[in-house]
C-alpha cells in the first residue's frame, strides 16, 4: 500500500522511538503537520521561534540522552535553526532537524521561502541530507538517527522538498543501517590501554581531566571507579560537570579560564594528565605552549580529530570512553598497586591548594551577590535540580557555585557559547523530565534572546524556573571592559529594561523579585513551590561583581587573577537600581 511521504516520515519517527518533537509550522511542511494532527504517540511542542525549537530539542537530548527532534519550514524557518544546530554541533548533542524545502522542481530558482539550508548547515552538522526521491526517505531518516546518536554524537539535518512529503510510495523500513564511510572506533587499542595503565601506575602526580565525552558515553561510574581505585584527583571541563561528583573528595571542580585555583595548579604541576572525552578547547588550556608543562598526556576520545588538534599527546587512545575506561580498569585492578601510599603527598598538596584559595566571594548584607543566589539554589534544591544556563557570568557562577553530582544535570552551551540557549533548553529538559526541578540560571542580557519562549512554557504548563541574575549589564563583556579596556563600558549597559516581573505576568507566568539578600531564599522557595507555571525570579544583584579566578586570554592557566588583587578606586559609574 502506498502512503504519503509525510506519513512515511511520521512512521519512521515512531519506529525510532520519538515521543516529542519541537517545531514550528509553515507552507511547505503543512502536510507533515497535518499528519501530526491525528497522531497520538508523538507530541509536537510548538515553540515561538525556530531557534527556541532547536535549543529545546537540544535540552531534551542532553537531559534524557535521547535524540532530540525538530521540524521547521523552509527558508527563514530553516535559517532560524542554524544557531541551535551549531550549538549542538560544538557540544556533540544528538539532534535530527527536519526542514521543509520548496518542491524539487523549484530548487535553485530563488522561490518563495527558499534557502539552501543543506549548503548553509554543511559546516555545522555532523551530516546533512537533501531527499530528492521519496523512495530514499525512510532510509535517510534511519541513517540520520544512526549518525546523530552514535560515535561522537551531533546534529543531522534532513531537507524535505514539498513534493517528497506530498508524493506517495510504499513504506520500506530498513532494518539494518550500513554506511561504508562511517565506522566509529568503539574499542581502544589493547596495547595503548596497557600503556595507559602503566603510565598511571608509574605517575606520582596524575590528574584526570574529564569532559563531555564521559557524560555522552555514560561512563560516570567507570570514571569514578578509576579515580577512586588509583586515587587520582579529577577536574572537569565545563562540559564535563556532573561526569564526576562535584562534592567528591577527589573533585577539584572545573579547570580553565574560570576554573578553580587548585585545578589549574594541579594540571600545571602534574606529571601525568589523563584527558577523558575532552578536546582541549582554548578556554581550558590557556596558552597551549605553557599547558601542563611537566605532564605526559594520555588522551582518550572517540573522535580521532580531537587528538593532537590543540595540544601534544603522548598516548592517544581512540575509542568510546566507557569501553576504554573499563579496559583500563581491568588492567589496573590486576596491578594491585599501593595507591594510597603513592598518592599521599600529591593529594596533600592539592588539599593545601584547596585551602589556600578556595572559590569564594564576599557576602554583603545590603546587596545581593550573584554567587549567593547560585549557592542558595544549590542548597534549596539539595543539588538535585537540572540546571540550564545562558552564557556569560551567569554561566560561570552556575558552574562554580553549584555542585553537580550526577551527569545530565548541567545543560550549558559550552563550545559555541550561545546566549539565549538556557531558557528553551530548560523547556526541553522539563519535557524530558516532567517531575524534576529544572532551573535556568540566566542573566538579564541572555534571557532576552529567547524570552518569547515564555509562551511555550505557559501554554504547556511547564514549571521551569528562571533565576535572572540581573546586574543591568552584559556582565562578562563589562568585566573584560573593566579589566582590559580602562572601564570604558561601550554598549554593555542594558538599563534594567524590561521589568521581568511584569513580562512574566503578561505571559501568564509568575514573576518574583528579590532586591535584598534576605529576600533571596523566600523567593527561591516560593518559586520552587509552583508546579503548574513557569516562574521568573528577578534577582537585582551587585553589578560590580566579577567572575574569579580568571585567566586572561593568552596566559598560562596558572597565571590567574583574583578578586583581592585588583583593588581599584571606587567606580565612577553609578550602579543601576
Amino acid at each position: 500500500m502506498k502512503i504519503s511521504g509525510a506519513e512515511i516520515l511520521i512512521e519512521c519517527l515512531k519506529r525510532e522511538g520519538v515521543k516529542h518533537i519541537f517545531g514550528y509550522p509553515g507552507g511547505v511542511v503543512l502536510n507533515i503537520f497535518d499528519v501530526l494532527y491525528d497522531e497520538k504517540d508523538i507530541e509536537l511542542i510548538l515553540t515561538r521561534h525556530e531557534q527556541g525549537a532547536v535549543h529545546a530539542a537540544d535540552g531534551y537530548a542532553r537531559a534524557s540522552g535521547k535524540t532530540g527532534v525538530c521540524i521547521v519550514t523552509s527558508g527563514p524557518g530553516a535559517t532560524n535553526t542554524v544557531t541551535g544546530i551549531a550549538t549542538a554541533s560544538m557540544d556533540s548533542v544528538p539532534l535530527v532537524v527536519f526542514s521543509g524545502q520548496v518542491p524539487t522542481m523549484l530548487i535553485g530558482n530563488d522561490a518563495f521561502q527558499e534557502a539552501d539550508i543543506v549548503g548553509i548547515t554543511r559546516p555545522c552538522t555532523k551530516h546533512n541530507y537533501l531527499v530528492k526521491d521519496i523512495n530514499d526517505l525512510a532510509r535517510t531518516v534511519r541513517e540520520a538517527f544512526h549518525i546523530a546518536s552514535t560515535g561522537r554524537p551531533g546534529p543531522v539535518l534532513i531537507d524535505l522538498p514539498k513534493d517528497v512529503t506530498t508524493g506517495t510510495a510504499e513504506f520500506k523500513w530498513p532494518e539494518q543501517v550500513s554506511i561504508r564511510g562511517y565506522n566509529p572506533t568503539y574499542h581502544g587499542n589493547k596495547w595503548m590501554i596497557r600503556q595507559a595503565a602503566q603510565m598511571i601506575a608509574k605517575s606520582k602526580k596524575p590528574v584526570i581531566m574529564a569532559g563531555g565525552g564521559v557524560i555522552l558515553s555514560g561512563a560516570a561510574k567507570e570514571l569514578r571507579e578509576l579515580a577512586e581505585i588509583a586515587e587520582i584527583p579529577v577536574t572537569t571541563t565545563l562540559m564535563g560537570l556532573g561526569g564526576f561528583p562535584g562534592s567528591h573528595k577527589l573533585s577539584m571542580g572545573m579547570l580553565g579560564m574560570h576554573g578553580t585555583y587548585y585545578a589549574n595548579k594541579a594540571v600545571q604541576d602534574a606529571d601525568l594528565l589523563i584527558g577523558i572525552g575532552v578536546r582541549f578547547d582554548d578556554r581550558v588550556t590557556g596558552r597551549t605552549s605553557a599547558f601542563a608543562p611537566g605532564a605526559k598526556i594520555i588522551h582518550i576520545d572517540i573522535d580521532p580529530t580531537s587528538i593532537r588538534k590543540n595540544v601534544r599527546v603522548d598516548l592517544p587512545v581512540v575509542g568510546d570512553v566507557k569501553n576504554v575506561l573499563r579496559d583500563i580498569l581491568k588492567v589496573i585492578r590486576e596491578q594491585k598497586g599501593q595507591w594510597e601510599a603513592v598518592r599521599k603527598s600529591w593529594l596533600k598538596q592539592i588539599d593545601a591548594w584547596k585551602k589556600e584559595k578556595p572559590l569564594s566571594y564576599t557576602f554583603d548584607k545590603k546587596i545581593i551577590k550573584p554567587e549567593f543566589v547560585v549557592e542558595k539554589i544549590y542548597e534549596i534544591s539539595k543539588g538535585k535540580a537540572v540546571i540550564c544556563t545562558e552564557v556569560g557570568q551567569n554561566q560561570m557562577w552556575a558552574a562554580q557555585f553549584y555542585k553537580y553530582d550526577e551527569p545530565r544535570k548541567w545543560l550549558s552551551s559550552g563550545g559555541l557559547g550561545t546566549m539565549g540557549y538556557g531558557f528553551p533548553a530548560a523547556i526541553g529538559a522539563q519535557i524530558a523530565c516532567p517531575g524534576k526541578l529544572v532551573v535556568d540560571i540566566a542573566g538579564d542580557g541572555s534571557i532576552q534572546m529567547n524570552i518569547q519562549e515564555l509562551a511555550t512554557a505557559v501554554v504547556n504548563r511547564l514549571p521551569v524556573k528562571v533565576a535572572i541574575l540581573n546586574n543591568g549589564y552584559l556582565g562578562m563583556v563589562r568585566q573584560w571592559q573593566e579589566l582590559f579596556f580602562r572601564e570604558r563600558y561601550s554598549h554593555t549597559r542594558l538599563d534594567t529594561v524590561p521589568d521581568f516581573v511584569k513580562v512574566a505576568e503578561a505571559y501568564g507566568a509568575v514573576g518574583l523579585r528579590a532586591v535584598k539578600p534576605s529576600e533571596v531564599e523566600p523567593v527561591i522557595r516560593e518559586a520552587f513551590s509552583i508546579k503548574d507555571r513557569p516562574v521568573f525570579m528577578d534577582f537585582i544583584v551587585d553589578w560590580r561583581e566579577k567572575v574569579f579566578p580568571m585567566v586572561p586570554a593568552g596566559a598560562a592557566i596558572d597565571e590567574m587573577i583574583f578578586d583581592e588583587e585588583e583593588k581599584k578606586p571606587a567606580k565612577k559609574l553609578k550602579a543601576v537600581k
Partner: protein, 162 residues
C-alpha cells in the same frame, strides 16, 4: 611539506563542497584538486595536493575521514606511487624561434594539439618536476596562457595503502 592525498568518496551531489568546505573552513590549503568517477560508478576519487606540517596533514586526513561521505583516505607521502599532471600551454614564439620551440616540445614529449598563425598549444603530461622544467624553458618564448588539470596519483603494484 607537500602531500598528495587521494580521497575515495561517495559519488553524490554536494560531496565536493563538503571536502572543499572542510579545507576552507579549517584554514587548510589546497594547491590542486581533481575529481573523477572510478570503475565503480557509485564512487569518485579526488586527488588533493596540499601543504602543511605533520600536525596539519594529520588533521587534514583525520578530518577527511570524519566526513560521512568519505570512504577512504590515502596520503601518498609514504607510499610508492606514480603521479601525473597534464598541462595545456599556449605559446606564441616569434617566427625565428618556432622550430626551436617545437623541438623543445618534442624533447619533453609534448603534443601540439592546436596551432594557428600566432600560437601553438602544447599538451604536456608528467610529474611535477617535468612540468615545472618545461614551463621554465618555454617561458622566454612567450606563454599566452596555460591551464593544468591538477595532479592525479596511483600506488605502484604491490604497495599496500594504509
Amino acid at each position: 611539506m607537500r602531500h598528495t592525498i587521494s580521497v575515495l568518496v561517495e559519488n553524490k551531489f554536494g560531496v565536493l563542497s563538503r571536502v572543499s568546505g572542510l579545507f576552507s573552513g579549517r584554514g587548510f590549503n589546497i594547491e590542486s584538486l581533481s575529481v573523477g568517477e572510478t570503475i565503480d560508478r557509485s564512487v569518485s576519487l579526488m586527488t588533493i595536493v596540499t601543504t602543511g606540517d605533520d600536525q596539519i596533514v594529520e588533521q587534514i586526513t583525520k578530518q577527511l575521514n570524519k566526513l560521512i561521505d568519505v570512504i577512504k583516505v590515502v596520503d601518498f607521502m609514504d607510499v610508492d606511487h606514480v603521479e601525473r599532471e597534464m598541462v595545456l600551454i599556449k605559446v606564441a614564439p616569434r617566427k625565428n624561434d618556432k622550430s626551436e620551440f617545437l623541438k623543445l616540445a618534442e624533447i619533453f614529449r609534448g603534443r601540439i594539439v592546436d596551432s594557428g598563425p600566432a600560437t601553438f598549444t602544447v599538451e604536456i603530461t608528467g610529474d611535477e618536476k617535468k612540468i615545472a622544467a618545461f614551463i621554465e624553458l618555454v617561458r622566454p618564448y612567450g606563454i599566452k596562457e596555460f591551464v593544468r588539470t591538477g595532479k592525479v596519483a596511483i600506488a605502484r603494484e604491490g604497495v599496500k595503502k594504509t
